[in-house]
Subunit: 218 residues, 2 copies
DNA sequence: TAGATTGTTAATCGATTAACAATC
DNA sequence: TAGATTGTTAATCGATTAACAATC
């Protein structure tokens, strides 16, 4: 009855990095890679890389290393990029529009954008690359008809919580939040924040406190 | 001759959060706040809050707590938001444009955007809210005339390093990078990454591995 | 003064690194 | 077989939490 310890946030945040580098070396036609070689290109320690990967299974082989394609495909599955996701974007301001056009967030990458929503009368009804922007008031009805996995929240901070409550009600499973606020969500709805303000302030902090700057450990 | 230990990344990443909440409670007209009250609204422990703040000085008072305005203004100085910064944006695609229009990154917030650059012939020469988009080839010359503190890098991954080398040469002090790549910079040029791909993959990981999801600890 | 709450030290917890036996 | 490199345990390091004396 012993339960596995949960995989820590630190490990999870490194997975996309592994995936990115494996893509790069796969593109070079490289077949095998050792933790030591991965260490050199990623800047992480070989020990940490082996430790991380072993949370998910023994993908390597003693004396050989890891098969690049195989490891890449395993990580793909672990991250869940092998699946496809239906998404909507709420708030079609600067950020919302940028995410809509963002290359990493389209059907080719497994994310199908099925709805766009905004509050502004001038934006509602406009067609953006084939999708008509819907009134934010209709999200509710929309979610009853359509099974949406992910909602991008790109509305102002003061309406973000309200929007999320509706999204949760509509059975959205993950929220990619760009509003500068800490949202309250039930624990089975996954939240991932992109807090641009915090990122920018981290930059200015280190510009003013170079002595604390750890180099690129972040 | 004992040197202070550097302030850890974990602490630095929490400072903007303190600043944000202090702004909110200051707006409510609240005068004083205890670490316990801050704990309740931020979700961090009171112990951690006191520990964090004491890296920078004893801003509180026993039996009283912290003066909201004073603490806010101290953190402002620590983060460096009291200063003003000259910035350029390199790459005027979706992300570059969104950042240009982003409310948190304009003169009112202390960031003066003095130049926009792109590689694309159709974009160069266009005027965006008063600034003409310049050819990326001219960054070099531009930086010789103008003292730029921060450069936003929003070009494709495969040209990001090349662009950064020019920025470093031109004495830029901080780089806010949106390209999905780990840049190599001298250690006195501060790098802050916004890796949207990694953020999105963290979201899908937890959607597929709810058992590991720590709630909103990130 | 009595109560409240900080600043700070000590204890705990968790993540990273080192080491090495297992094994391809 | 000999060499290489993993998987995994143990040691170290660092960050968080608990506790409490200092003090407003």
């Amino acid at each position: 009855m012993s339960e596995k310890p949960r995989v820590s946030l630190a490990v999870v945040k490194r997975l996309p990095k592994y995936y990115r580098y494996l893509g790069l070396i796969a593109d070079k036609g490289i077949i095998r890679v050792s933790s030591q070689e991965l260490s050199k290109i990623t800047g992480l320690t070989a020990s940490q890389i082996r430790q991380d990967l072993n949370h998910f299974g023994g993908f390597g082989q003693q004396g050989y290393g890891y098969n690049v394609e195989e490891l890449k495909s395993e990580i793909e599955k672990i991250i869940g990029i092998d699946k496809s996701y239906k998404a909507i974007i709420v708030g079609m301001g600067n950020i919302g529009q940028a995410i809509y056009k963002y290359r990493g967030f389209n059907e080719a990458s497994g994310f199908k954008i099925v709805g766009l929503f905004d509050k502004d009368k001038n934006t509602i009804g406009r067609t953006m690359s084939g999708i008509k922007v819907n009134d934010i008031k209709n999200i509710n009805k929309f979610l009853q008809k359509e099974d949406v996995d992910i909602a991008v929240v790109a509305v102002p901070a003061d309406s973000a919580q309200e929007v999320c409550d509706i999204l949760v009600e509509g059975n959205v499973k993950g929220i990619w939040n760009f509003a500068p606020i800490d949202l309250k969500l039930p624990k089975d709805v996954v939240l991932e924040n992109v807090h641009l303000d915090e990122s920018l302030f981290t930059l200015t902090y280190y510009m003013n406190n170079l002595k604390d700057y750890p180099g690129t450990k972040n």
